[in-house]
Point group: C2
Chain length 218, copies 2
């Protein structure tokens, strides 16, 4: 394995261990020592990647953001939907993404900047919506910031509810319902019929994402 | 003070203390003894109202539900909006309601039935939507359960985001944005213009609620 690939694997293993310990012990009570034991790495290896427990928290929080660029779509709003579907897939199948969202929503983690992931999502959605607006895809009354914030908050809530009610088993369906309810309120009617907001789309994206991930991590 | 009124006050004081200790210590680590100290009541008084710590948790969770019936409206969907606005007001001004929602969303509280409050909200919204459907207020494609679940989940998320970003200062605005985005996707166009989904409505309801509460607790 090339040195860089090994470093990426080690970094991820440390993050996964940190995330697990944060979830089990609560962030505030977790010590670096406990993370070292769980990860089975040396102090030197951990500090090569992360300067402090706060830095580890930032790394865990960052893991919920998409790790590769979205495939551009002819209708920009399709990218907003695709991103939502992909996050649902990653929440279902990637423990680190689940731990990241859990940490962001953990009201006991008082010394963590839990606003940062919300701001990152809002920024990313605002960018998509701004392009969509420039292309004439949005209804005239739509406020980009309000919509980006609504979508981030609503998404955070439906994934929490799905987790609590059924361990996220129905998350793709819930995300499809959210999109099918939200998009008609922001998208021009002419383009709306061109969007694919179905669970079938979600499953197709998941297959492509997994294949691409396998290639990258090969 | 009549005996019944005093009992209600004591019960609420115990619940508030329990909620505070749950939030500070985490539900799992909290002992009944700690709640007794905080509430300043005797063991006998506490056990008169609550059989166990689990029973206290149920009482705290239950406090987020509206404590008086909604005023009936000529358009049923207005009641859905009014309920959302009133909860926002209560989240801003009632520490027990905040603690109740925090406990329901606390992933560390593993021995609490955190699904119960979600189910209670979904049931209540489903009832409103079912009446709205029977009255012909809903667009034909609307699925009552999907919509009730979407709304409960989305609401839970936007209030969490509002708390994290600004201590719920902008919550009335965010709830108005949610309603203004959601309702056009479920309500017939003819009735939509008859709905008041503005922050002004939220403020008016808050004033009426506070006055009614003062009368009840006189």
């Amino acid at each position: 394995m090339a040195q860089q690939a090994r470093a990426i694997k080690t970094r991820r293993a440390i993050l996964e261990s940190a995330a697990t310990v944060f979830a089990e012990r609560g962030y505030e009570r977790t010590t670096i020592g406990e993370i070292l034991v769980r990860a089975g790495v040396t102090k030197g290896a951990l500090y090569f990647h992360f300067a402090s427990k706060e830095d580890l928290a930032l790394g865990v929080l960052d893991a919920q953001m998409l790790d590769e660029p979205m495939t551009p779509q002819s209708i920009k709003l399709q990218e907003l939907a695709d991103q939502a579907f992909l996050l649902a897939h990653r929440l279902q199948h990637d423990a680190l993404v689940r731990a990241s969202v859990a940490l962001a929503l953990d009201s006991g983690a008082v010394s963590v900047d839990r606003a940062a992931p919300f701001r990152a999502w809002i920024d990313q959605l605002s960018e998509i919506l701004t392009v969509a607006k420039a292309r004439g895809e949005l209804l005239v009354h739509v406020d980009v910031t309000d919509t980006a914030e609504l979508f981030s908050g609503a998404y955070a809530g439906i994934q929490t509810m799905s987790q609590i009610l059924c361990d996220r088993e129905d998350l793709l369906h819930r995300v499809a319902v959210l999109l099918q309810c939200l998009l008609p309120s922001i998208c021009t009617p002419a383009l709306l019929t061109g969007l694919d907001l179905t669970e079938g789309r979600a499953r197709q994206l998941a297959v492509e994402y997994d294949a691409s991930k396998l290639r990258r991590e090969g």
